[in-house]
């Protein structure tokens, strides 16, 4: 018994340098992550406009306000429309482009580099550029439509209830395709060549190779990309804010812009914090579910 305790203290003593080394990192986490998080939980239980002390305790009322607010659900569904479209279109197009590059095309290196450029541009810059592109008066889309005789299709893309969210989703996908393409391309290039060679010897067609070899090989990568898409898109904010600020009338509101508006435009920090904690719980449950499913599958 005594020797176990002694061994324990020796272990602790020997580990002190290691603990000291990770101390700065832990300090950073405690100061910039855990403390604000605990504080956020506290704020979410107060009616608070961001100024002065927390005095007006309201319990879970802020959570109820959020859960009863139709605008929260609108923002929630808009976010999931974005995620759905991004997951289906961006990963599919990314897959297609990666496959085309894998099969080999002339100027392959040029295309693989130039196709990646949209991902390197900051979201704010993309939002600003596309806002001009969509502008009904001075934007090139409408001008082009008029030039080719389709003037009646010209729209105020970002200022209409029906078109503002699709316009943002399109821009968003334009930005995310290169990332998906690159990851898929990098993975497909690591596939042992004998898989394909064996299939070719058995007389497999291109479609059969794609369907029975490449897709199954890339499935884990596609699942990871799906998870990344979900967690990234749940945090979508900058592009949406630059392009429409969630408007017109909430048509393109996403959860993050809803939180921002509640906090900084309406100065209702309690409700905003409650909404952000709900959002965090959603993200957490998605991540845990996907991990659970992955483990089960493994």
């Amino acid at each position: 018994m005594q020797s176990t305790a002694k061994k324990f203290w020796i272990d602790i003593k020997q580990s002190i340098p290691a603990y000291l080394l990770i101390l700065p990192t832990i300090a950073v986490f405690v100061i910039f992550l855990y403390t604000p998080f605990i504080n956020a939980i506290r704020i979410s239980m107060y009616k608070y406009n961001g100024i002065g002390e927390l005095t007006d305790y309201v319990g879970l009322d802020n959570y109820l306000i959020v859960l009863k607010d139709p605008k929260f659900y609108e923002a929630f569904f808009n976010t999931f429309k974005l995620i759905g479209a991004d997951a289906i279109l961006s990963i599919s197009i990314g897959f297609f482009l990666a496959y085309v590059l894998y099969r080999g095309i002339p100027l392959k290196r040029f295309f693989s580099t130039s196709l990646f450029i949209p991902y390197l541009i900051s979201m704010v810059v993309i939002g600003s550029i596309w806002r001009i592109i969509y502008d009904p008066t001075i934007g090139p889309i409408n001008q082009l439509l008029q030039l080719i005789g389709l003037g009646e299709w010209a729209q105020p893309w970002l200022s209409q209830y029906e078109t503002s969210l699709p316009a943002i989703i399109l821009t968003w996908i334009w930005h995310t395709i290169p990332f998906n393409m690159l990851i898929i391309y990098a993975n497909v290039m690591t596939m042992p060549s004998d898989f394909i060679e064996a299939a070719e010897m058995d007389g497999a067609t291109s479609w059969q190779k794609l369907r029975y070899i490449i897709v199954p090989y890339l499935l884990p990568t596609l699942l990871v990309l799906l998870l990344l898409t979900v967690t990234t898109d749940l945090r979508a904010f900058d592009m949406v804010w630059v392009m429409t600020q969630g408007g017109p009338g909430g048509a393109s509101e996403v959860i993050t812009s809803y939180v921002y508006r509640k906090a900084f435009s309406s100065q209702n920090f309690g409700v905003a914090t409650a909404a952000s904690i709900i959002m965090m719980l959603i993200m957490l449950s998605i991540t845990l579910t996907s991990q659970f499913l992955n483990r089960k599958k493994a």
Binding site: P17, L20, L21, L23, P24, A27, N49, G50, I51, G52, K71, D135, P136, T137, I138, P156, L158, S159, Q160, Y161, S164, M243, T244, Q245, G246, G247, P248, G249, G250, Y260, R261, A263, F264, S265, S266, Q267, N268, F269
Partner: protein
């Protein structure tokens, strides 16, 4: 030996990390630098008004060498977020720009310094009483805003109006001449001009996300003026609501402008800069604008544009009043550590010295007595002068801007939905009323 080396390395890393955590004083200065005996004072200024610029601050610093000014500009659309973040971190700058809804919220939360005594003291030049240098109606307009929102109090002077903000319609005379139009003197003529401009392929009138409420507020000043002048507390007492006929009439008239296609298709989400670009590109025919936003247009308008201004006629036929008045207010933070110097800066901002020393201020109406404008410029600014001559609609008339929350909901949610036909005027009125009741 290795372990000792590791321990030493760890200690060094910790020292470096912790050195960065040195305590800062309120102004963001490192504590080790504070109290060095240097008597220089540093003031922080937050402004959304581009007329108050680095150049203004430099002029002030040149004249007051013991005061250093750190200036920060935020676009008006980001002011609310910026101020909330500063207030939440107890870092409100010494001198701040503010406006109606924000201003009264800030007074309510005891964030602003009472300036009554200072206003009875000398002005910046020291040749007059400070309060007497303002156009009397302007100061009254500013005090009226506080009284309206916060009721009777000992003081209504928590900020001073900077410039007499007026709004007028800016247009290109050559377009008018080309289409045979004249400056409208009645609402009917104004609407007929809009129709002609639309038929000629122009977007007749400006509108953008941050000023989306200007038209309804102007219409309410016409339709509700008599009722609210006879009983200024009509909303408080419940004698008037957002569903009252005059309020609904203002909303309906605004929707009519939208439905007729006189406002830009992208007006709900576009920003001020987009409207400015449309105007200088000759796509937008008439720009309802305040003088402090003229500079971009004046600097970028093509040579063939011949600019002029006129006051917007009243929709109900009664004499029109302008929005604005004291809508740009500068105030001193109650937590300023240098209130004397901050007040000195406020006096400078509202002084002849400032208005005559800075080129960018030449298009503005100073709101000061005895400050003359060059005759040529006066002719161009005639629209603003005429608009001001009609007087000002109180900042808070129909109280859509009585609190930040109502103002935000009205401008970013309810009004856009109403224009797009997602809700009708009744629903809009009911939702505003519910928010107003809750805020009371």
């Amino acid at each position: 030996m290795n372990r000792k080396l590791l321990m030493m390395l760890t200690a060094v890393v910790l020292m470096i990390v912790l050195a960065g955590c040195g305590a800062n004083d309120k102004n963001g200065n490192n504590s080790s630098e504070a109290g060095t005996g240097d008597e220089n004072v540093t003031l922080r200024v937050l402004s959304t008004n581009p007329l108050v610029s680095e150049e203004s601050m430099q002029l002030f610093m040149d004249q007051n060498p013991n005061i250093k000014v750190t200036y920060e500009y935020v676009p008006s659309s980001d002011y609310s977020a910026k101020f909330a973040a500063l207030a939440a971190s107890n870092a409100i700058p010494d001198v701040i720009w503010t406006q109606a809804g924000y201003y009264t919220d800030q007074i309510k939360q005891n964030l602003l310094l009472d300036l009554s005594e200072e206003l009875n003291g000398q002005n910046y030049e020291g040749d007059a009483v400070w309060s007497e240098t303002f156009v009397p109606a302007l100061l009254e307009n500013s005090r009226g805003t506080v009284k309206k929102a916060l009721g009777e109090r000992d003081s209504y002077d928590y900020g001073v109006p900077f410039t007499m903000t007026t709004i007028a319609v800016l247009y290109d005379k050559s377009v008018y001449e080309q289409l045979g139009l004249e400056e409208p003197t009645s609402w009917e003529q104004f609407m007929s001009n809009n129709e002609a401009l639309k038929a000629a392929g122009y977007t007749p009138l400006s509108m953008h996300n941050n000023w989306i409420d200007w038209y309804p507020r102007l219409f309410w000043d016409q339709y509700c003026r008599a009722d609210l002048e006879s009983n200024p507390n009509a909303f408080d007492e419940g004698a008037m609501t957002f569903s009252s006929e005059c309020v609904q009439q203002g909303l309906t008239s605004f929707k009519e402008l939208w439905d007729k296609g006189y406002l830009p298709e992208n007006g709900i989400t576009a920003d001020l800069e987009t409207m400015q670009q449309m105007f200088v590109q000759g796509k937008l025919a008439q720009f309802l604008i305040a003088p402090d936003k003229l500079e971009y247009i004046m600097n970028n308008a093509p040579d063939n544009m011949s600019l002029a201004t006129y006051a917007l006629p009243g929709i109900a036929g009664i004499p029109s009043r302008s929005l604005g008045g004291s809508s740009n207010v500068f105030a001193v933070s109650a937590s300023s550590e240098h209130p004397e110097e901050a007040v000195q800066l406020l006096k400078f901002l509202t002084s002849k010295t400032h208005f005559t020393g800075i080129e960018a201020l030449k298009y503005s109406n100073s709101g000061l007595v005895n400050l003359e404008v060059e005759p040529e410029l006066a002719q161009f600014l005639a629209g603003f002068t005429n608009a001001a001559a009609g007087g000002f609609s109180p900042d808070i008339l129909v109280p859509t801007n009585i609190t930040t929350e109502i103002n935000t909901a009205f401008k970013t949610d309810l009004l856009p939905r109403y224009l797009m036909g997602r809700i009708d005027a009744n629903e809009l009125g009911e939702q505003l009323q519910a928010m107003y009741e809750q805020a009371k």
